[in-house]
């Protein structure tokens, strides 16, 4: 029983992580209309930059600066590579970001080397918080807290700031927003960069949990897609929910039948698609 409880808790942590990825992906998918395969690459980039920055500005400094740097790189990529794709068949954005992901993985390997690198987390975060529930380590709680904080800030940003309201409006009806005289190119650039910021943040957190390898992003991206499909395209709350659901499901499966822990998330997706094709919270007919 304790094992099950633990795995649910653990699944929740993993799920939060997927959700962090899925939120960024989902934002970019919504307003930019781009399936961003290079999201995993940006995650790795965020992690590696944090690794290089940490000796100079410390863990906490890197935690803050690295996602911004990733977001900035995202801004440049959007301007040069993504912008020509708007309004074209989604096929092209898929292929371009797919190629970009390969290039990024290669560059990271060339620059930082193929050997995995250790990423030190402050000592204060590494100890178990309780003797009985020893598995609740400081870093895990910190990870959940930070992910929740980031998510809450994102939602607040979208709800209360001018640019956030515009992004949401653009999500609902891009033509109307454009007709109102808002520069949608700039809006999309900001949105893309914000999505990449989330990937960078996830990267720093992943670095502390898993260490760094050039391929670290590749294994995290597929579950994030599934999270979006399960949650429903176009709904950020859905993506959050989707991430947590598949994380917990994978956690529970690990308790009883570890070999199926990967397959189970795809089964959940299949069930959702058959019972409710638009996803749990998705809107009908969006992005089709």
């Amino acid at each position: 029983m304790e094992l099950l409880l633990f795995n649910i808790f653990n699944g929740f942590i993993i799920g939060i992580f997927y959700a962090l990825m899925a939120l960024g992906l989902s934002m970019i998918l919504g307003l930019n209309g781009i399936i961003n395969f290079s999201h995993g690459g940006f995650l790795a980039l965020g992690a590696y930059m944090a690794y290089s920055l940490a000796p100079a500005i410390g863990f906490w400094g890197a935690l803050i600066v690295s996602p911004f740097l990733a977001g900035f790189v995202g801004l440049i990529v959007e301007r040069v590579l993504i912008r020509p794709l708007y309004g074209r068949d989604p096929l092209f954005s898929l292929l371009l970001t797919f190629g970009l992901a390969m290039i990024m993985q290669d560059l990271i390997r060339t620059f930082w080397g193929a050997t995995g690198l250790p990423f030190e987390v402050p000592n204060a975060l590494t100890h178990p918080l309780s003797q009985v529930y020893f598995f609740i380590t400081g870093y895990r709680v910190f990870l959940v807290a930070l992910a929740l904080l980031a998510t809450a800030s994102l939602f607040a940003l979208l709800k209360f700031t001018r640019v956030g309201i515009r992004i949401r409006a653009g999500n609902a009806d891009l033509e109307m927003v454009s007709a109102l005289g808002i520069n949608i190119y700039r809006l999309r650039a900001v949105n893309f960069s914000l999505g990449i910021f989330m990937a960078g943040l996830a990267g720093v957190l992943a670095a502390g949990r898993l260490g760094l390898t050039p391929t670290m992003g590749a294994s995290l991206i597929m579950p994030s897609f599934v999270a979006i499909i399960v949650g429903g395209v176009g709904s950020l709350v859905g993506s959050l929910l989707g991430g947590i659901i598949i994380g917990v499901a994978a956690g529970i499966t690990t308790t009883y039948y570890p070999a199926a822990s990967d397959v189970v998330i795809y089964l959940i997706m299949a069930v959702v698609l058959i019972v409710r094709p638009r996803g749990l919270m998705g809107q009908e007919g969006l992005l089709e």
Binding site: L91, F92, L100, F225, V233, V263
Partner: protein, 336 residues
């Protein structure tokens, strides 16, 4: 302005008929050239620094992309998960040879059936959605097969891949087709490639094919006309799945080996880029794309550790500068 335009159209009419006659002739000539090159490949390939197995590989990838292109280029269904049916074809063939029979044709048949039926079965789940959603669902279904293959150690060999089978010679009475010979296996592959081409060609010329293209051009209108779009998409999905499975089955025979990578979404991406590189809306696009992609990858990866960057750059540049592929690009220039 208006009158000038209509005059232009009038004047263009006879020229049009003439040019269509010309273009038909050109098309026939091009096809003849393609077949002539393919039939003689084992003789000229070594002269260019290639080798026969590379030729077989090009054919296998062309065939898979040809199948995918029926869906992608002609029906407008963006599948990013066709490696699943390719891989099922490969595993079906490999498992059959390893556990059931030593007959190559039977194993091939089993692979095609497994992959094709897989596509037929999962088609209805995917065709309910379109665009990006369709792409994501096809990827996810593909990954499901991938993980099944990775985890089902006892049957598939898991991560290690499926070994311990090999293609066997085919006996026709007294005559023996020695498939162990690379050149003969090339022609064996070419034979099935030709069958694949014939299937796609006749589908495209039939009313079914015209419906596919109509779906690509304006799905909404067809819906209003009462056409069951989902049904036709499903048919396109199934046919293309069968062809991809045939390619996968041949691939298993080529390597005498299958691994979960043959099911992975990265391979699906390769198939899509092959279609795009060659020209999605052209018949020979997949072949041209496959020649470029397979050959470039083969050479680059021998020369530089950073071959992935170059392949990635091909993706990026193709999307930005040649969205209609090499054949599409030349077609447009000729039409100009």
């Amino acid at each position: 302005m208006k009158s000038a335009a209509s005059r232009h159209v009038d004047a263009a009419k006879p020229a049009d008929a003439m040019s269509s006659q010309k273009s038909t002739r050109r098309r026939v000539a091009a096809s003849a050239l393609v077949w002539a090159l393919l039939l003689t490949a084992p003789y000229w390939l070594p002269l260019t620094g290639g080798y026969t197995d590379l030729g077989s590989r090009v054919l296998v990838f062309s065939l898979a992309a040809l199948g995918l292109n029926l869906l992608l280029g002609f029906t407008g269904g963006l599948s990013f998960g066709h490696a699943a049916y390719f891989g099922l074809g490969a595993y079906g063939t490999g498992l059959m040879l390893k556990f059931v029979t030593h007959s190559t044709p039977l194993a091939l048949l089993a692979g095609v059936a497994l992959g094709g039926l897989g596509a037929t079965l999962f088609g209805p789940v995917t065709v309910r959605r379109r665009g990006i959603y369709f792409a994501m669902i096809t990827i996810a279904i593909g990954q499901m097969f991938y993980f099944v293959a990775v985890r089902w150690n006892s049957l598939t060999g898991g991560e290690d891949g499926l070994t311990g089978f090999e293609r066997t010679n085919i006996h026709f009475g007294h005559a023996i087709l020695n498939l162990h010979n690379s050149t003969i296996f090339y022609y064996f592959t070419l034979f099935f490639f030709a069958i694949g081409c014939a299937v796609v060609w006749s589908v495209l010329r039939s009313p079914l094919g015209h419906t596919f293209v109509a779906i690509r051009e304006n799905q909404k209108r067809l819906r209003f006309l009462g056409v069951s779009v989902g049904f036709y998409l499903w048919i396109a999905f199934a046919i293309s799945g069968f062809i991809a499975a045939l390619a996968g089955a041949l691939y298993a025979l080529l390597n005498n080996f299958t691994s979960p990578e043959d099911l992975n979404w990265v391979l699906s991406g390769d198939f899509v880029i092959i279609c795009v590189l060659g020209g999605m809306r052209t018949f020979w696009g997949p072949l041209v794309g496959s020649v470029i992609y397979v050959v470039v990858q083969d050479y680059l990866s021998s020369i530089t550790v950073n071959w992935m960057s170059f392949i990635g750059a091909i993706f990026v540049l193709a999307v930005l500068f040649f969205p209609w592929g090499l054949l599409g690009f030349f077609q447009r220039r000729i039409q100009k």
